[in-house]
């Protein structure tokens, strides 16, 4: 019975990683850049919801929507100001800029909210669900998993069925050819950042609800783990990010439960190294032959 609890905890943690990893992987797939500020968008989302619900006393629904809107706009603005001027620059320049944006967001939150952790408002009342004496399910975990599955289905449909989604696929395959075929590349990149950042806001919500406390560095560690998840699944590949995120969460939690609480991170990264040695493009990544 405790195995089921541990598995559910792992799946819930993995769902959070998957939501964040989607943002990394979509941006990488389309703009070919690693947006290291993505983790901090989670923190901005969580703090927006905190401010809306705890300080301004808005209802939970409005607070959540406010968080998602702020993150979506933030994602688009970051892209416009920081990354768009560097579209033709070397990948290293863009990477350093992304790290700069990350520090900027953290320091900004530090200035506004201070370094003390804040208690995230209880937007929903989570009572544990008692199946029987041995098995008590955490309702916040179940909600995290459920919403993540819904989002993933919606995202997959969006990418494969809509015109905008197909434009994203086209840009990720060949930016130049897509442009020649009449796809507005700049608009497509903006939409990608908007979707990725709104997913990060949802991840921020679940982080706040599950752990209860947020701070300026809240997004840093989940951001790194989600990046690992995206690489594990094959960066640039959307189903890969989902699989990578969920696998990472489950491996982390099960190794904590059955091997060692201290070594869980070491085990997670060891798995990553082994996967990359065997399959360098990640679990679901495709091999692309570069023409010389």
């Amino acid at each position: 019975m405790s195995f089921i609890s541990n598995l559910i905890n792992g799946l819930s943690l993995g769902s959070m990683y998957a939501l964040i990893a989607l943002g990394y992987t979509m941006v990488y797939g389309i703009a070919k850049m690693l947006n290291f500020a993505h983790g901090d968008v989670i923190m901005v989302g969580a703090f927006t919801m905190f401010t809306a619900a705890a300080t301004l006393k808005f209802s939970p629904a409005i607070s959540i929507i406010a968080g998602i809107i702020v993150c979506t706009l933030l994602g688009v603005i970051i892209e416009k100001i920081a990354y768009k001027p560097l579209r033709k620059a070397s990948p290293l320049t863009v990477l350093i800029t992304a790290i700069g944006v990350s520090y900027f967001l953290q320091s900004l939150a530090l200035l506004i909210f201070g370094s003390n952790q804040k208690s995230f408002p209880m937007l929903f009342n989570f009572e544990p669900i008692r199946v029987n004496e041995d098995l008590i399910l955490k309702s916040d975990s179940l909600m995290t998993m459920g919403v993540t599955i819904l989002i993933m289905v919606a995202l997959t449909l969006f990418i494969n069925k809509t015109k905008t989604g197909r434009a994203m696929l086209a840009v990720s395959e060949d930016k130049g050819a897509a442009e020649l075929m009449g796809v507005n590349v700049n608009k497509t990149i903006s939409i990608t950042f908007a979707i990725g950042s709104s997913l990060a806001a949802v991840a921020g919500l679940f982080f706040g609800l599950t752990y209860g406390f947020i701070g300026p560095y809240t997004g840093a560690m989940p951001g790194i783990k989600a990046f690992v998840a995206a690489v594990l699944g094959g960066i640039g590949n959307i189903p890969g990010a989902m699989l990578g995120g969920i696998l990472l969460g489950v491996i982390e939690n099960l190794s904590k439960a059955y091997i060692s609480t201290e070594l869980s991170d070491a085990i997670v990264f060891a798995v990553l190294i082994i996967v990359l040695l065997v399959k360098p493009t990640g679990l679901m990544g495709k091999k692309i032959n570069e023409k010389v």
């Binding site: 405790s2 541990n6 955490k138 752990y211 209860g212 439960a257």
Partner: protein, 385 residues
């Protein structure tokens, strides 16, 4: 460009003027017979409740002593610097305080920072009396003393207290392996638990990098059927554990040491109920019946917007009165005398101080010996048990 240069030079001129003024202020105070006591601790950051409490508690003692005319015509002045629990910043703060004329140091509030400061205090030969630096090395030199329990003491005393006063026999431990404080207490607790016949059913570690998700550790606590969880950790991480224990439906009581003090602030006003039933070892309970405690709690509340003092505030208060006792014992009436440092340090092992945190005496090791009490948190207040 010209405009920017103009603004820049204006800023520079203003800075120079401002620095000039503050330097003058510093020199003026040193002439008087005023003992500058320097405190260092986290006033901002994750562990700021400890530093703020010590500062506020110490300030009350300083105000009381000055209102009564000082001791041997010596007035006290408290200067407090923020170190954010960082050892390097603590040493910088120490140097700033020395420049401001510090004669007695309250060391630093947290252990790591305090140990760094002991090195500096040893070089200068001044008395260092830390209110709350609990790691053994905080009093490693002859001029260093402390008010609080040491980590090993807390581990042993906690195990004794649980074995003698509570019914729980199966104990789980969740501790921070990346923190010397937590490891120190855990080691002594495990050793004493074996002596006292307590069974350690789970010993679960976490590290500073994995201090958010405790679901695996809490599941383990549940699976082993533990009757009590010992939490020799800081309040920040404990807040996460209490919150997750509730959503996981785990209702095992928690027992912690001084690091858990401040848990109510960390939980925030919405979550006070999460701390219900949490027990912690403390030499100070704000609801105690003696007049000294009652008076302190009253003054503290009046001065700081109705806050209730915790043991860190009491430690800070006792530290100031211990300095007063040492000055009286040594018969010092001129703080600028050449033998001030040796006299006050010698007096430390001879004084007996009846403080808020118990009756204390010190030996050569610099550690105070006093009795432990435990409190239980009920509806946002500490209740003695």
């Amino acid at each position: 460009m010209k405009k920017i240069t103009g603004i820049l030079s204006l800023v520079m001129v203003l800075t120079i003027i401002a620095t000039g003024f503050s330097a003058c202020g510093g020199n003026g105070d040193a002439d008087k017979n005023t003992l500058v006591i320097g405190g260092i601790g986290p006033l901002t950051g994750d562990y700021s409740t400890y530093g703020v409490s010590v500062k506020q508690g110490a300030q009350i003692a300083v105000d009381e002593i000055n209102a009564a005319g000082g001791v041997n015509a010596i007035k006290f002045e408290l200067k407090f610097e923020d170190d954010e629990t960082d050892a390097t910043k603590a040493v910088n703060a120490y140097n700033t305080l020395m420049d401001d004329g510090m004669k007695v140091s309250l060391g630093a509030v947290t252990s790591g920072a305090c140990i760094a400061v002991t090195e500096e205090a040893k070089k200068d030969g001044i008395l260092l009396l830390t209110p709350s630096g609990s790691q053994k090395e905080c009093t490693q030199y002859d001029n260093c003393f402390r008010i609080c329990f040491t980590d090993p003491q807390q581990g042993t005393v906690s195990a004794d207290y649980i074995a003698d006063n509570l019914t729980a026999k199966k104990i789980a431990i969740i501790y921070d392996k990346s923190n010397d404080y937590s490891v120190g207490i855990t080691d002594k607790f495990v050793a004493e638990a074996a002596v006292k016949g307590l069974e350690i059913v789970a010993k679960q570690a976490f590290t500073s990098g994995t201090s958010t998700d405790f679901s695996a550790q809490l599941q383990q606590v549940k699976d082993t059927g533990a009757e009590l969880v010992f939490l020799p950790i800081y309040a920040k991480e404990a807040a996460f554990i209490l919150k997750q224990a509730k959503t996981a439906g785990i209702a095992v009581p928690f027992f912690g040491c001084d690091g858990l003090d401040g848990i109510l602030e960390k939980l925030g006003t919405d979550n006070q109920a999460l701390a219900n039933g949490v027990m912690l070892l403390t030499p100070f309970a704000a609801d105690a019946d003696d007049t000294k405690t009652k008076n302190f709690v009253k003054v503290y509340g009046e001065k700081y917007n109705g806050q209730v003092p915790d043991q860190f505030a009491a430690d800070g208060y006792d530290a100031i009165y211990t300095i007063k006792a040492a000055i009286e014992k040594a018969g010092i009436n001129d703080i600028n005398a050449a033998d001030f440092n040796t006299k006050i340090i010698d007096a430390m092992t001879q004084v007996t101080v009846e403080g808020l945190t118990g009756t204390m005496v010190w030996d050569e090791s610099g550690d105070a010996s006093k009795d432990a009490k435990a409190v239980k948190i009920t509806d946002g207040t500490y209740v003695a048990i």
